[in-house]
Structures are given as C-alpha cells and as structure tokens.
C-alpha cells in the first residue's frame, strides 16, 4: 500500500496517527533479497501495544540484524477495521505498509487471556486461514510468546510455534532457522520438526492430547522427535544482554508514555496468587550502573520527560538508593520525572519517599491484597497491618492526602470476615490521618479501595484452586459496600463476568480452541475492552462446542492431575507449588528469597544461582 492509498483510509477514522507510523525511532530498511520479514503483532490497540516494554526490546533486538526487518502491527480499532474491509485492504505493517500476509514470521505477544479472539481477528484480517493446519505454505509462520504462552493450549490450533521464556535468547535461533529454510526450500512439516529441536520452542502440532473419561488430561504425547518437556529460555546476565538505546516515540499519547528501564526480572517474594512472580524466575538484577546507562541513553535519544524504573517489586531492588542518588541530579537537570511503579508497603522508607518527592508528588498506591492477617498469610503477601499504617503515616507526614489500596476478592479460604477486613483497614487509614497532628493542614483524606476478582493461574500454588463463582463474587462485592461507612473511602471493582472467562482460558486445554474460534466467528474481538466484550457470543460458543467454562474455572484439581501445561517447564517445579499450596491451607508463610533459598527450582535455569546484587 502506498501512502496515498493510506490517505483514503485515514480521512475516515479516529486517531489516524495510530496507523501512520513515521515516528521517531521507527526502523525503515531497504528491502534486500533473502531478508527475513518479521511482523511483530500486539493483539490490542496501538496505545496499549506501544506501552509494552517487551515489544520495544525485541523490536530493537531483531532490527540489529541486517538480514531481518522487524515491523510493528497493532489491532485496528473497529472504525479502521470497517474501512479496511470495505476497501479491501488487508492487515498491514506500520513501517512498510506492506500486507502482513507477505511476511515470513508473524509473531504475537500474549499479555492477557482476553486477547485471544483478537489474535484470530488479526490473522483473519491478514487474509490467512486462522487454523495452523489450513495454512499449508511454509511461510508465514505464526509464532506466539509472552506470559500467556505458558499455557498456549486454548489457542494451540491457531499457531505454528510457541516461544517459551525470554525472546532475546531464542529469537536469533528462530531467525537463522527460517533463513535457512527459505534458502533450502523446506516444506512446512520439516520446518516445524526442526523448530521443535530449538530449546524453548514448543510446536503444539507435534503433540497429541489424550484424555481420561472424566475429561481431564491423560497425557501429552510428543511425536516426530519433539521433546517430552520444553524448558523456557532465560537471559543469564542482564548487564550483558541487549537493551535498546532508543524507543519508537509515538505522536499520540499512549498508556505508558515514557522511557523505561528494567531493574530486575523475577521476584523474590513468592505471593501465591501471582503468576508473574513465578513465571519470570529466577531473579536476575541489573547493576545500578547499567540501569543508569540505559536510562540516560533512552532519555537523550527519545526526548521523553518521564523515566520509569520497572520491575515486579521496585522497592526490593538492592541497588535502589545508590541508583536514585546517581540518577536524580541528572534527571532533575533535564526536567525528567521519575516514576517508580510497584512499590511495596513494608519497605517504603521516608528517604525513598523524599527522593520520589524531589520530582513530582502524585498519589500513592499500595497493594495489601487481602483485608485480614490470616488471609494475607494464606496468600503469602508477608505484610502486616502495622506495615500498612506505618507507610501511610510516613506518606501523610510527607504531605500526601490520597492513598489507593489494591485488594482481591475470591481468594482461597476467604470468608466474610476477610471482606469486612478490607473496609476495616481502609477505615483505620482514615482514622490514622485524623489522629495525626502533623497531617497536611486544611485537607481531607481520600482512601480509594480497588478490588479485583481473583483468577487462579497456572504456575502458581493456587493453580489447583477453584475460582469463586460469579454469584459468590457479586455477593462479596455487595457485602463489602455495606461494610464501608466513611465518605472518605471510595470503592471500585471489576466486573466478574470477564473474570470467569479469564479463569477458563488461563487453565484451559486444547478443547477450548473450538470455543475461541466460535466466539471470534460470532464477532468477538478486543475482549479486554468493556465496550467491545460480548458475553453472549462466548456463552453461545461454549454451548455449541459442548464445553463448559465451569469445568475449567470452578473445578478443584488434585495434585496428581496432568495439567495442560505440565509439559512446559518454566523453572519453578510442580512439587514446589504443591508444597506452597499445602502451606497456604495451613496459613503458613514462606519468606522472601533474600532471606534464604526456598528451593523453587528456578535456579536450575541459570546454573544454580539467582543473580542478585
């Protein structure tokens, strides 16, 4: 497509700059014979996809090679999709405006379950058959990665390859394989067979699923030489691995519109509900020197006025204070704001607060996750009420008047006492504010409680647990509202309808492929957006496929059940999850990895140690 043809489309849609590219930092290459064309797709709108750090890293990583051209593709909004369909324009890549269908690799990063129908929509919009078996040509190959690739079974029929773990490690091997395959003219079967030999590359079509009479899985049987177990790939040294020196700087405002540097991967805490905390283990920290270097590179090259230091638990980063000392003078001189997401409530010091304050004062957000100590012990959150109050005291004394507290409901073993505990804790924060003589004068306090519905995820100690039913969750929401008495406390919560679907897809098996396809055929796409989500389409799709969402969402699994993801090894062992599940039921906590190794198994991947400072 030429720019002129694109003009015809763009005059008819909202936010046309989503589809024009031409941003600072976008990579445009001269097409050479033999060059591998790689479409990196994010199955959501531009503003969401452009905020994703992994995509920025892998985009730069792929484009550092002369024989690969990686371009970006995002889901068109509904108005754009309509115009494209009317005018017969297939899905195109932003940099070259060429149809995605002509590419060699079409990669999707799956950040949440609710994007599955959008993956199908984008394959369809590209003009390709959505089922992998119906795509007979060797190229393009559809490959997926990201956290949801850890249980890819509900979309296994639509993809050719699944990349497990960190893309910096595996990408080059996949590129080399594809380049060789094209040169030597391999057929698709041969490519898939050989790809399965790349460590970390899972090829779903080379595995047959056998089921028991009760519909649980009997075995995943590999054939054509595919390995019994596929182990994820990890970067061993974050100080040596590729990190981009620049980002694509969008014209329109995106969700996280800033430069971002990772402090570490993995998490030392072991909260039992948290998939990310286990999925990204082992812990590997970046040295403060590397973080500062990466940060300065990015700010200088992008012109961003905000820098995010990201990780799963930023205040746990061992080098945080020296890093901030190093960075703050530099950023301040350049009018750059620092953002520190994911601060923990138990090690948020006055010194740290003052450092953040030097740049900008906004609201503070913390996540106690549960309302009572008993339940916080079950989920291994390892924070106490005193921690919460102490932190709020520090914040109020420092001039803050707004605190946001994140909670979950529907957690295993939860009772109404735990729900009431949420309201009680918020009330204690309000009371604390008014009891402090040094509170900000003439100001009122605002405590916002945000409550999410708990969804049990694979690769967590709660993977065995049934989800609370929709009716139970609605009852709990109602009860929580009845417990809140102060006008200083506001409550917001998520709808439970999508939570059930999320739970079914998260722990689903290959039989859900028919449901995902059915929902897509009935018009489902962009399911993560409330205004696009069509619950009826999903309900009908479940019914027509003869598959019940309850089987996946509401059923308790036994420890010896074969999980749909048991043949995929993300480091942490199933026996560790069983051990942790038993401890949860007893209400016993497990300390941070920094206190001592708990033997989760992830350290196998990096030769026996977690790399901490």
């Amino acid at each position: 497509m030429t720019l002129d043809q694109l003009d015809l489309l763009l005059s008819q849609v909202q936010k046309p700059a989503r589809y024009t590219a031409g941003e600072m930092g976008a990579v445009v290459k001269e097409l050479k014979p033999g060059m591998l064309r790689y479409a990196f797709c994010f199955p959501d709108l531009y503003e969401v996809g452009m905020s994703h750090l992994g995509m920025k890293i892998l985009y730069g990583h792929a484009n550092r090679r002369d024989d690969v051209w990686c371009e970006r593709v995002f889901a068109p909004d509904t108005d754009m999709q309509q115009v494209m369909e009317e005018m017969g324009v297939p899905l195109f890549a932003l940099e070259s405006l060429d149809p995605v269908k002509e590419f060699d690799l079409i990669a999707f990063t799956l950040q949440y379950e609710m994007c599955y129908t959008e993956v199908l929509n984008m394959i369809d919009l590209a003009g390709l058959p959505i089922r992998a078996a119906d795509r007979k040509d060797p190229f393009p190959l559809v490959v997926i990665g990201g956290p949801c690739a850890s249980n890819p079974e509900p979309i296994a029929d639509f993809v050719d390859l699944v990349s497990l773990g960190e893309g910096e490690e595996i990408s080059d091997e996949l590129f080399d394989l594809c380049i060789k395959a094209k040169k030597e003219g391999w057929d698709k079967a041969e490519i898939l067979r050989r790809a399965a030999q790349i460590p970390g590359m899972y090829v779903p079509s080379l595995y047959t699923v056998e089921y028991n009479e009760d519909n649980t899985i009997k075995a995943m049987v590999p054939h054509d030489g595919a390995p019994e177990v596929v182990q994820k790939r990890v970067v061993t040294d974050l100080d040596k691995v590729y990190y981009p020196e620049t980002f694509v700087v969008p014209f329109i405002e995106i969700v996280h519109d800033r430069a971002a540097v990772e402090l570490f991967r993995g998490c030392n805490r072991g909260c039992r509900f948290c998939q990310a905390g286990f999925l990204y283990r082992p812990i590997r920290e970046k040295s403060p020197e590397t973080v500062a270097k990466d940060a300065k590179n990015l700010i200088t090259s992008t012109g961003y006025d905000e820098l995010g230091l990201t990780s799963l638990s930023t205040s746990d980063y061992c080098g945080l204070e020296p890093l901030l000392d190093n960075l703050l003078d530099w950023t301040e001189a350049r009018h750059v704001n620092l953002s520190l997401p994911s601060l923990r409530i138990d090690n948020f010091s006055k010194e740290l607060m003052e450092k953040i304050d030097r740049v900008r004062k906004s609201g503070l957000t913390f996540a106690p996750e549960a309302g009572t100590q008993r339940l916080r012990d079950v989920i291994n959150k390892n924070i106490t009420e005193e921690d919460v109050l102490k932190t709020c005291r520090t914040a109020f004394a420092g001039g803050y008047t707004a605190v946001k507290l994140y909670f979950m409901m529907g957690l295993p073993t939860e009772t109404n006492d735990d729900i009431k505990g949420i309201a009680d804790l918020a009330q204690k924060v309000v009371d604390l504010f008014y009891s402090m003589p040094e509170r900000p004068k003439g100001k009122s306090v605002s405590v916002n409680i945000s409550v999410a519905c708990f969804v049990p995820k694979p690769y967590t100690p709660f993977e065995f647990e049934p989800q609370a039913t929709m009716d139970e969750l609605r009852e709990k929401q109602k009860y929580l509202l009845s417990c809140v008495r102060s006008k200083k406390i506001s409550v917001s919560y998520h709808d439970s309808t999508t939570s059930v679907l999320e739970a079914a897809l998260a722990r689903g098996d290959r039989r859900l492929c028919a449901v995902v396809e059915g929902a897509f055929r009935k018009g489902s796409r962009l399911d993560g957006w409330e205004n696009h989500f069509k619950p009826d389409a999903w309900n009908e799709a479940f019914e027509e496929s003869g598959v019940s969402p309850d089987f996946y969402a509401y059923r308790r699994r036994y420890y010896d059940e074969v999980m749909p993801w048991d043949h995929l090894d993300y480091g942490v062992t199933k026996s560790f999850f069983i051990r942790e599940h038993k401890k949860a039921m007893e209400g016993t906590t497990t300390p941070s990895c920094f206190v001592g190794c708990n033997g989760c198994g992830a350290q196998r991947l990096t030769g026996g140690v977690c790399k901490c400072l």
Binding site: L3, D7, L8, L10, S11, P16, A17, T20, A21, G22, E23, M24, A26, V249, F251, I252, E253, T300, S301, T302, G303, Y304, D305, R334, H335, R360
Partner: protein
C-alpha cells in the same frame, strides 16, 4: 537572565499531517529535548518547555509555513537551530528557518490554502461556481461554546480554480487568527450542503499565512 524569543518556521507533511495539534506540541517538545538546544522552561510547580504556535493547523492538513515560538537561554545562530532541530525531528516535520519574531500572532488575518479536489471536473466547477455566487452562506459552526450559525461568505475569497489530473485545484483565502478563523473543511461542508456536491477525496495544504495588508507573517 535574558531569554531570546525565537520564531521557527517549519513544514508538516506526509505521515505527520495526521498528528493533531496537541500531539504536535508533544512531538516538538521531545524534538527540542533531543536537539539539546538551550530552551527555556516555565517556572513553577510543573515546569514545562515553553512553546507557542502562531496558528494551529487542523489534523489532516499539510502546512508549508507553520510557525512556533520558543525561548532560548543562550544565543544560538539561527541556522544552527534549524540544523539541530532537523536532526532531531521525526519524518514529515522539517524546520525551514528561525529568526526573531517580527510580528505578533494577533496580526494574522488570512491564510491561503490549496484544495486538491478529486472529482469529475465539470461537475466540480458547476458546484463551485454556484457556491461562490451565493449572496450569503449561513453555516453551522461548532465551537467550544456550542453550535452557532455564521455566514462564511465574507470569511473567504476564491483566488483561482484550475483543472488538474482527476479533478480541480482550488486556491482559497480564508480568514484566520484568534478572533475569526475559517477552516476550509467547513467551507467544503457548506459546499456539499448547498450544492449536493461531494468530492471523492480532498487534500488541503496551507501555503501562506498573511496579515491584514496581505504580507507574509514573519
């Protein structure tokens, strides 16, 4: 500390025309940061890079003589400002010149536009002739305060109509500035409403910004 006001003229074309005014502000501010030019920041609680635009341009319109002002903390040769900014700007944005401001933005009275109208020429000419012969053209104009009807007849002057490949090229002078401003797309809407004529595609290009005496804004 003395600060020098600098007016920078630039073009906005190609993929960049789809950048809204707000997005352009952000893009320019980032380009200025990348350029390392010694620009002045506002003081106060949230310091930000000081920057103003003489006459914002509508989304989708090409601009050949756009103007913005910044303040410099040091004397930088004007040619160097242009070069350094161009090295830092995204595709479609190009600085042409920089100089101390001569005029005030409030002196802007007119802007000249080229409208490339894709249509059957005979049909287009007939509609345009009829349109410009109307004694008055009451048109609904949407503003922040709501919708009101204004007569746009005296807010524009037809400079010329030429035949081009696949259509017509219309040169149109529109009132411009803070007080009264006519967006040519509003004139096209009025054209459609009064004559029923709809073009297959229209591309608009602003090529001159003028004062009351029709002098180029400097």
């Amino acid at each position: 500390m003395s600060v020098n006001m600098v007016r920078i003229f630039f073009t906005k074309s190609g993929r960049a025309i789809y950048t809204s005014h707000l997005d352009l502000t952000r893009a320019m501010s980032r380009a200025l940061c990348r350029s390392g030019l010694p620009v002045w920041y506002t003081e106060g609680f949230h310091p930000h890079l000081y920057m103003t635009f003489a006459l914002p341009l509508s989304l989708g319109t090409t601009g050949l003589c756009e103007a913005m002002e910044v303040k410099m903390l040091e004397d930088v040769p004007y040619e160097e400002i242009v070069t350094r900014l161009n090295d830092a700007m995204p595709e479609g944005l190009r600085a042409i010149s920089a100089a101390a401001p001569v005029m005030q933005p409030k002196e802007i009275m007119w802007a000249d536009y080229r409208l490339y109208i894709r249509c059957r020429t005979a049909e287009g000419r007939e509609a345009l002739d009829k349109f410009f012969a109307l004694p008055e053209i009451p048109t609904e104009k949407r503003s922040k305060k709501g919708i009101k009807t204004v007569d746009i007849k005296h807010m524009m002057q037809l400079l010329s109509i030429e035949d081009i490949e696949n259509g017509l090229l219309v040169n149109l002078r529109c009132r411009a500035g803070v007080e009264i401003n006519l967006n040519p797309t509003l004139a096209l809407d009025a054209l459609a409403q009064t004559t029923g004529f709809r073009a297959d595609q229209v591309k608009i290009e602003r090529y001159a910004v003028l004062t009351e005496e029709l002098k180029d804004f400097k």
